[in-house]
């Protein structure tokens, strides 16, 4: 299967034969994946397939035990300085938003720029407002996360990650915890981000989004990458029974 991309430049993320165990459970098996700069990869697969674990290894919320992960030219090791460098460049959006409930929307967005990037407060606030405008909720800046709807919270979470001006964005099932009518507003925000050329790795079951945005879809099952290719190729012409089964289940669900 050809993996050559139309995109050039150095790879943003390289996973090479990554293995991970939880106790005796082998959750990642020889996972190898290269994501080019400005490439958009959608990761899908049944629950428990290791897709979330893989994406969480990329910014070391989970540690891998074997293999290597290189992000933006820096290898992830126990070295804290390397970790700091990588986390500055990698933004992450979670399934459950994980906004800080005791801080206002604006404070959620300015905290890391001020304390990690050492940005002056006024500058950080201006930056945060510009991103909040982009996700179309500047009027909520003074509210607390608990006062917002799920879709709004997730858009704030995206803005919060963007305020660090990351080179890479990771999305871990960003729409799975949302009511159906709110999914679109979050996906639209992500599509807008894709149009700007952000490098994205996104775990999602939104096949429409994958078709529209992804350069490549990765299908994982039982801790390994089973298929890997452009969305049309994967969805129209699945090679393995596992993917066929998964697609039939997903489509039936919709």
């Amino acid at each position: 299967m050809s993996q050559t991309m139309s995109l050039s430049g150095p790879p943003a993320i390289v996973l090479d034969k990554v293995n991970k165990w939880y106790g005796t459970m082998h959750v990642l098996r020889d996972v190898s994946l290269t994501v080019a700069e400005k490439e958009r990869v959608v990761v899908c697969g049944p629950s428990g397939s290791g897709k979330s674990t893989m994406i969480r290894c990329i910014n070391r919320l989970e540690t891998h035990q074997e293999g290597s992960i290189i992000v933006d030219g820096t290898e992830l090791t126990d070295d804290l300085r390397a970790l700091d460098t990588i986390r500055r460049e990698v933004g992450m959006v979670f399934q459950s938003f994980n906004l800080f409930p005791h801080l206002t929307i604006l404070e959620n967005c300015t905290l890391a720029p001020i304390w990690v990037r050492k940005m002056p407060k006024a500058e950080a606030e201006a930056l945060a407002m510009s991103y909040l405008e982009r996700v179309k909720i500047p009027e909520q800046a003074k509210k607390y996360p608990g006062q917002l709807s799920g879709g709004q919270q997730q858009r704030v979470a995206i803005a919060r990650a963007l305020c660090m001006k990351p080179k890479i964005m990771l999305f871990d099932e960003p729409t799975s915890a949302l009511d159906p009518e709110m999914i679109k507003e979050v996906l639209d925000t992500m599509i807008g981000l894709a149009d700007d050329g952000m490098t994205m790795v996104c775990v999602t079951h939104e096949m429409g989004f994958a078709r529209q945005v992804a350069h490549r879809v990765v299908f994982m099952d039982r801790g390994e990458i089973v298929e890997n290719g452009p969305p049309n190729q994967l969805f129209e012409n699945p090679q393995t029974d596992r993917l066929k089964l998964f697609l039939s289940q997903i489509l039936r669900g919709h």
Binding site: N59, L61, D84, R87, R88, V90, G91, M92, F94, S96, N98, L99, F100, P101, H102, L111, A112, W115, V116, Y144, P145, G146, Q147, R160, A161, M164
Partner: protein, 381 residues
């Protein structure tokens, strides 16, 4: 159709019941809540009788038949015959009028006791300032340092023309407040560090030390810790070195309270969803920034009620220094009662002491409730 026949004719729904209460005011409220049935009427009458008897009894004893002053003999010894006669009928508040200086300020030189009065006021002012959210900034640390320095200068003296008074003469309310305030100020940060250490996954040695500390201190009675501080600890010091008894008791208190508070703080840390730490990590915040900005502010908010519970407990536990010969408020009450003319009036003295403890503890509990409401406003919609 009249109201009465409506009630008789239909089974009233709860909603209609409430409407009626709203319409008819206090009498209807009384009828539904206190005299709703024969049984409830009987209980209401019985309890009402007990309450009226107790309140009237206390009123008569404490105010109507109370003795407020006694005459003093030519040598300055109070003549308590009036009180003796009133015993059992009326309270003898004269004992407090006579002994309040001794109880509040201990054996501190009489003419210098104004210094201790200022110390008490300084402490109360410090509590009020610290309680106001608009003062929650870095300068508050300076205010604490300044106030505690002033407290030290006033208590010891020896400078600015103040007479030197050594710790042996300190006593009463200032001792209680010193133990409680320094105890809280040092044990709380200690507790936070211990709780964080106990949850550390990357530093197993630190974790084990924290677990040991908490389990050992928690497994020993406070009285034993105080005894160790006052009796055993000096044995291990080289000859000639003498660390003041008050300081030793203070350290014992800090260590003891620290272990208990650490477990309360740990409960808060555990209650916080894991996603909060992960989001902070993903944003690149360092461990201390993550802890300071994200984890602790939320974790501590969750445990305000048990934290205040523990603080109130330790405020009262300061009275245990009695057993190592420090003269705190409660001890001074006992000392006052050892004066022969007043020996039989312990009830009045202890009521007076209780009033002081209640005032401080009630203020703490009141404050914690308002703090909880203010801080958790962001959680409610």
């Amino acid at each position: 159709m009249s109201q009465a026949s409506t009630t008789a004719g239909h089974v009233p729904t709860p909603a209609r019941d409430q409407l009626k209460v709203a319409a008819l005011g206090p009498w209807a409220w009384l009828r539904t809540n206190l005299f709703g049935s024969t049984w409830s009427t009987a209980v209401t009458l019985a309890l009402g009788y007990v309450i009226v008897r107790v309140v009237f009894g206390l009123f008569e004893w404490g105010i109507v038949h109370a003795v407020w002053h006694v005459p003093y003999g030519p040598t300055g010894i109070p003549d308590t015959t009036v009180c003796q006669k009133a015993a059992g009928i009326g309270a003898c508040w004269a004992v407090l009028a006579d002994k309040y200086r001794l109880i509040l300020f201990g054996r501190y030189p009489y003419d210098e006791q104004w210094r201790q009065a200022i110390v008490v006021l300084l402490f109360i002012g410090l509590y009020i300032v610290s309680g106001m959210r608009r003062f929650w900034r870095k300068e508050l640390v300076l205010i604490w340092i300044a106030t505690l320095t002033a407290v030290g200068i006033l208590m010891w003296g020896g400078v600015f023309g103040l007479q030197l008074v050594t710790e042996d003469y300190w006593g009463g309310l200032p001792i209680t407040l010193i133990l409680a305030t320094f105890g809280a100020a040092f044990s709380f940060p200690l507790a936070v560090l211990i709780a964080l250490g106990r949850r550390s996954t990357k530093l197993p040695a630190v974790k084990m030390l924290c677990v040991l500390y908490v389990e050992i201190i928690r497994g020993v009675p406070l009285i034993a810790v105080l005894f160790m501080a006052s009796v055993m600890f000096p044995l291990f010091l080289p000859a000639g070195v003498n660390i003041d008894k008050l300081l030793r008791a203070q350290v014992a208190f800090i260590l003891f309270a620290g272990a208990y508070l650490a477990e309360v703080v740990r409960a808060g840390l555990q209650a916080l969803p894991k996603g909060q730490a992960e989001a902070a990590d993903a944003l690149g915040l360092s461990y201390w920034k993550k802890t300071g900005f994200i984890i602790l502010p939320q974790a501590l908010r969750l445990v305000i009620p048990p934290l205040v519970n523990t603080f109130i407990g330790f405020f009262k536990d300061t009275s245990l220094v009695l057993i190592i010969g420090l003269f705190d408020l409660l001890t001074m009450g006992k000392v006052a009662l050892s004066d022969p003319p007043w020996q039989s009036f312990s009830t009045e003295v202890y009521i007076g002491l209780a009033a002081i403890y209640i005032a401080f503890c009630f203020a703490m509990s009141k404050y914690s409730r308002s703090l909880e409401r203010d801080l958790n406003r962001s959680r409610t919609r």
